[in-house]
């Protein structure tokens, strides 16, 4: 069903959809097919959503490291089952209208197919976060990855950060100060790790979403559409939060950065005129280094403390201890973390999948709220 097709034509197709499905049980019901035969109302949304979803998923495959085969296989299997379902339509209760029959099929078969697909995607996503799986055999120290952070605009700061799951286990920061041609080097203390809360939270949200889905396997029978909507809302809530954790770094004030435990992670300790902050922005690991200079107490400059920001600009002022400080230079370096990119794509895809399932259910909203199936 293309977007441009006349509306009435699409309606007719939709109205005959259930019958057609019965006649032709072998027809594969993939995502696009479901969109076409879904009924008058969600069709618009799905036709719009279809191509996008395809593209997004494609991006995920491309961006991933090739282990997407499992996901694709899972999806294929789901499709297969969905296609087989109408064949078992012998148990259709007499006296139900075609719409009610279709809704029955949706609740009993299609929902599980989608949930299975969703679980497969989320499993892939959680693998990216090296989630400690419930099977204890695979447990062990997460593998270390090194990221070289740089920026095209400046070569004053170079950082090598080592990520171990959701924690920074090592960090080497080199700072060149052109003024006196001094080269500063800092590294993490050996005994300490710095948790990247954004990654941890995102990972936990994904596992919450997976847990919500885990006890809705095939043996579980959905009785009303509202039940599915509630489940989808809960899952989407977790997924949106997971995504937003990665896309929205915390806005911090300078005193908060100064007080953060990160500054105490370094050996030898950071000089008092330097501040360091590490965060995730989308798929990138970002390191910012602020060079500070103290404001003279008798300075004529108007002291206005800066508010919270992801990245403070030179000239931002704050009060720390008894001193008034001003940011003189800001250096930001970053590096793409490939698996974060994958995870974000998976989030987007699964959110769209959830929304499409919701749309399919809502088409039948006149049935689900009153009569349980």
């Amino acid at each position: 069903g293309g977007c441009g097709a006349p509306r009435t034509a699409r309606r007719r197709v939709a109205a005959t959809a259930p019958r057609r499905r019965q006649l032709d049980p072998g027809r594969p019901l993939g995502r696009s097919a479901a969109g076409e035969g879904l009924g008058p109302d969600a069709a618009g949304a799905l036709t719009a959503g279809g191509p996008r979803l395809g593209r997004a998923a494609g991006g995920g495959d491309g961006g991933g490291d090739g282990s997407d085969g499992g996901r694709a296989g899972g999806a294929g299997e789901a499709r297969g089952r969905a296609a087989g379902a109408p064949g078992g339509g012998g148990r259709l209760t007499a006296g139900l209208s075609p719409q009610e029959e279709e809704f029955r099929w949706l609740l009993h078969d299609e929902v599980h197919a989608v949930l299975r697909q969703l679980q497969d995607i989320l499993k892939e996503a959680s693998l990216r976060f090296t989630l400690p799986s419930s099977g204890t055999a695979t447990e062990g120290p997460a593998k270390q990855e090194n990221f070289i952070l740089g920026s095209c605009s400046t070569d004053q700061v170079k950082g090598v950060l080592t990520l171990q799951g959701d924690a920074l286990s090592q960090a080497d920061v080199n700072l060149k100060i052109p003024r006196n041609n001094q080269l500063l080097h800092f590294a993490f203390r050996e005994d300490k790790q710095w948790k990247l809360q954004q990654i941890q939270d995102a990972r936990n949200h994904v596992s919450q979403a997976m847990y919500l889905l885990a006890n809705r396997d095939e043996s579980y029978q959905f009785r009303t559409g509202a039940e599915v909507l509630k489940l989808m809302d809960a899952v989407m809530l977790q997924l949106t939060r997971a995504r937003n954790r990665l896309t929205t770094p915390a806005t911090l004030t300078l005193p908060e950065i100064a007080a953060s435990g990160l500054t105490r992670m370094f050996a030898p300790a950071l000089p008092s005129d330097l501040l360091v902050n590490v965060y995730i922005n989308l798929n990138k690991l970002c390191l910012t280094v602020y060079q500070l200079h103290a404001l003279q107490p008798n300075s004529t400059k108007n002291f206005r403390p800066a508010g919270g920001a992801v990245l403070h600009s030179p000239g931002a002022m704050f009060e720390w201890g008894s001193q008034r400080l001003e940011v003189s230079h800001v250096h930001k370096v970053e590096c793409v973390i490939p698996w974060l990119n994958d995870a974000l794509v998976f989030f987007t895809v699964s959110l769209q999948l959830c929304q499409q399932l919701k749309d399919k259910i809502s088409v039948f909203s006149s049935y689900w709220s009153y009569r349980p199936f």
């Binding site: 977007c3 509306r7 009435t8 309606r11 008058p40 109302d41 969600a42 618009g44 949304a45 719009a48 959503g49 996008r52 400690p132 419930s134 204890t136 948790k195 809360q197 939270d201 936990n204 949200h205 885990a214 006890n215 396997d217 043996s219 579980y220 029978q221 009785r223 509202a226 039940e227 909507l229 509630k230 809302d233 809960a234 809530l237 949106t240 939060r241 937003n244 954790r245 896309t247 929205t248 915390a250 806005t251 911090l252 004030t253 908060e256 007080a259 953060s260 435990g261 989308l282 919270g308 959110l351 769209q352 929304q355 749309d359 809502s362 088409v363 909203s365 006149s366 709220s369 009153y370």
Partner: protein, 1112 residues
Amino acid sequence: MRSSLQAVALWGKKAPPHSITAIMITDDQQTIVTGSQEGQLCLWNLSSELKISAKELLFGHSASVTCLAKARDFSKQPYVVSAAENGEMCVWNVTNGQCVEKATLAYRHTAICYYHCSFRMTGEGWLLCCGEYQDVLIIDAKSLAVIHTFLSSQSPDWINCMCIVHSMRIQEDSLLVVSVAGELKVWDLSSSINSIQEKQDVYEKESKFLDSVNCRTIRFCTYTERLLLVVFSKCWKIYDYCDFSLLRTEVSRSGQFFAGGEVLAAHRIIIWTEDGHSYIYQLLNRWAQMRAAYKTFSGLSKSIYPADGRVLKETIYPHLLCSTSVQENKSLSFVMGYMNERKEPFYKVLFSGEVSGRITLWHIPDVPVSKFDGSPREIPITATWTLQDNFDKHHTMSQSIIDHVSGAGTVGVTSSEYVPSLDKLICGCEDGTIFITQALNAAKAELLEGGSLLKGSLPHKVLKGHHHSVTSLLYPHGLSSKLDQSWLVSGDQDSCVILWNIFTEEILHKFFLEAGPVTSILMSPENFRLRSDQVICCVCSDHSVALLHLEGKRCLLHARKHLFPVRMIKWHPVENFLIVGCADDSAYIWEIETGTLERHETGERARIILNCCDDSQLLKPESILPAASETHKHKTVEQRSSSSYQLGPIPCPGLQVESSCKVADARSFSGPFNVLPVKIKWSNIGFHILLFDLENLVELLLPTPICDVDPSNSFYGSEILRRAKSTVEKKTLTLKRNKTACGSLSAEVQAKPVVENPAQGDNTVKFLEESDGIKRQKKMKNSKKMHPKPSRKVDANITIDAAKLFLSCFLPWGVDKELDNLCIKHLNILKLQDSVSLGLASNEDCFSLMLPGWDICNAEMKKDDSKVNLFSEKVLDLSNKYTSTLPNQVGMPRGLKSNCDSLQEPNTLVYLLGRLFVVSRLVNMPLEFACGTARSFKMESVHNKAKSPGNEILNISSFYGYLRNGKNESHTPEADISLLKLISCWRDQSVQVTEVIQAVLLAEVQQHMKTLSKTPVSSQPVSMTEDIHCEMRQILQKTEWTQGEEIQLQCATDTWPLQTAVSPVKHDSNSNSANFQDTEDMPDRCVLEESESPGKQRHHSWITKVCSCKLC
């Protein structure tokens, strides 16, 4: 909801959905508290025979409830705390359903434990919280402010569950938690109280990796003080508390998920699952049975453990004694709990709540045993109940508002809209018909005895044109007076939108949108016009948005590209853009003229776009006002989180909006009587709330000279007045600025319910206006000048009818048969058919509604058929006390004589309502008073802005003024003092407002009717009514008075043209404000006494000049 709003719920036959997500039983085993995914709390009465009955529904959260816990030592204060998905926390008093404290934090809790250590702690104790953030938060149980955190040094992570261990042996309280990753951590509680109060970092004492994930419960065995039960979703484990060595692991059967567990007794535990089963195990100690080995291990354990921990691991194995299960569908998910009470008359109870809303109880025997053959015994269900059971059992109380309309009783109402100006209730039904009926009559027909006679004979209109259920309605004239009064727009399931003429009942136009069910219909704001007309905006469930031009009967734009549900619609008046915000935080900008998608943005940019154009109007599909308040909440959350990075994650923008509950806010309320349709999320079931504004009723009933001509002119009608007011406005603005300098004003403005303008369309404008300070207010004022507000005409008959209905609904019937008859005869009101579901507001966004059958929940009250609607036995007692404070002679003048009933009746109504209003305000006073003068000033400014004098809240000063002046002149002052004392005493005893209203109403009616039956003919009826008028006029007079002298002056000369005295008035108002300033810092009781004498004197100086009646 304002405190002067009284509510009555008309529930209908179907109970609102209540998908239980959290459940607890209070310590006194009299109340079950449940929280739902829809965001409401439900209080269920639990009788001593373990019978369940739903009592009331509490509205306060706008998102799914995640957990419940007690919030005080329950025997002292019956408080329970609830937390919601969006970070809201509420503390509720479960005996009266009032919200005691509410806060929104940037944290989502999944579990809360109350901790109080009386000898080391000041204050009300702590709420230890865990959830979707690292480590454990300590929140003050009283103020709900974050005190501190328990930090972990080793692998900080989210915490799944926790328990407080109180060990008698070592006299130390500890906090045990298990993190998401399965790490067990222990913090010292009692010994770290000091360091926490001094804000020092407190790290865990011990931690151990437990090797399993998804921990659901951790429990300490207080009987042995040795064992630790940890339940994971796929297994449960027993640990030795001394060294955390594993003693036993029991893995779940396939497909089964454990959900929790509890220690029943020494070596006896209960485990329950997600699908509603539970199992009671006896833990046998293998070594104990082997006498030889016993000796080796009785010495336990530290010395042996390092040597051969492996052997010790298998010392315990479980033996299944009993099990419980629910019969039907095992598929739904359950939340369960267990309550262990050892002493009589309490029970050991296992309880569960289901997503379907069902509660099930099992009485667990003190010593559960297996069958003789050793196989497990099944413990039967003791009680089970749902909300719907309440509705079915008390079907006479569960009336829907349009049951009486012939044919409508069987179909569900899917959407409704109330038009206050016409008193019309428009209901769209499941079968596509639309009923239009008089709301007051409809309510009367449902609630009142003999009202059933009205059934079928009530005039109503039926609009037939839709073939599917009607999903949304809009009455354009209610939003903009420029639009035709006869228009109604309705949208249905099949995306057909019809424009009706409701007077002729004909279809003016049908739009076919072909975009799925029309989920909501909105109208563009007044400042947005397309070729001088406002446009209608339909949001459809395929996420498309259609703009309709009503005059031109055509569709201007159909925006269909949205992938996710539409959350927000904004209008850009200058560039003719429609900005659509979707659930996935993306923004779409449509050019209206050409219908093209101008821009599509996601992420940060979309957020900026949606936030920056605040100048245009903010609307939301579901209901207009909560959207605004939601975004506000969200803003505060974000601000807070920005400063608390270390403590918690950032809330996800947009989600709060999504999860908002569909309860429309009562703030959109104007006029004396309103019908509020309420829809619960995820369902088509809705119900109606009748709202009565006591104050407004009194004002409208009050026959002032000008009022008779035109009610809208009564106070501010003349042009002179308007001019006078504009000068005052300047003054209040400066006043306001001063106040802002003193701080706290802006916050208060937000917290305060908006004084409503009769024009509903202005509501949202005002909301923005209010929050954004003076500059914008000026702007809005200009825009308002351009568009004259609709004339506010409330039919006098409607007002009187509403007043009568109010009395009918709140009077406790059947206390005295004779009294009932007198009321029916002289007040001309009808008796209730059955008790009604009364509502009570505890603050702006929290209110409770009684459920059908609430009246049998009161444990002390035997269901006495003769008494109907008696809120509690206490009412009678209170009523007697109240009567005794009334001076005897007062009975005489207040008896409004009945020479000609028809003429006196409104006066009686005014008098009764006036008393009720005064009393209810007094009971609510401490809240108001806390804010002192700042608030009264603010109210003035809001008042002036809003230009809705009729709806002003009387402020405190006028209030005391009324009490002093209005009464002292004709009655003894002692009477008032004793009354004040009585009511402040009630307030201290936290007597419920509803109880007070009923008690006062009963007492006053008794008084009134007594005099009526004694002296049927009065000696001077006219002057008595005058007396009442005078009293009430003074209230109003004083209201205006606080607004400044000019007004006062104008008003005086305007309303009472005979008066010329000016200077005394001026003098008075000065002294008033001065007086007020002085009392600002005093505790309220002092103020009550203090202001007595000066008030009296002052009164005489002006009242003699101003009031036309001869009595004063």
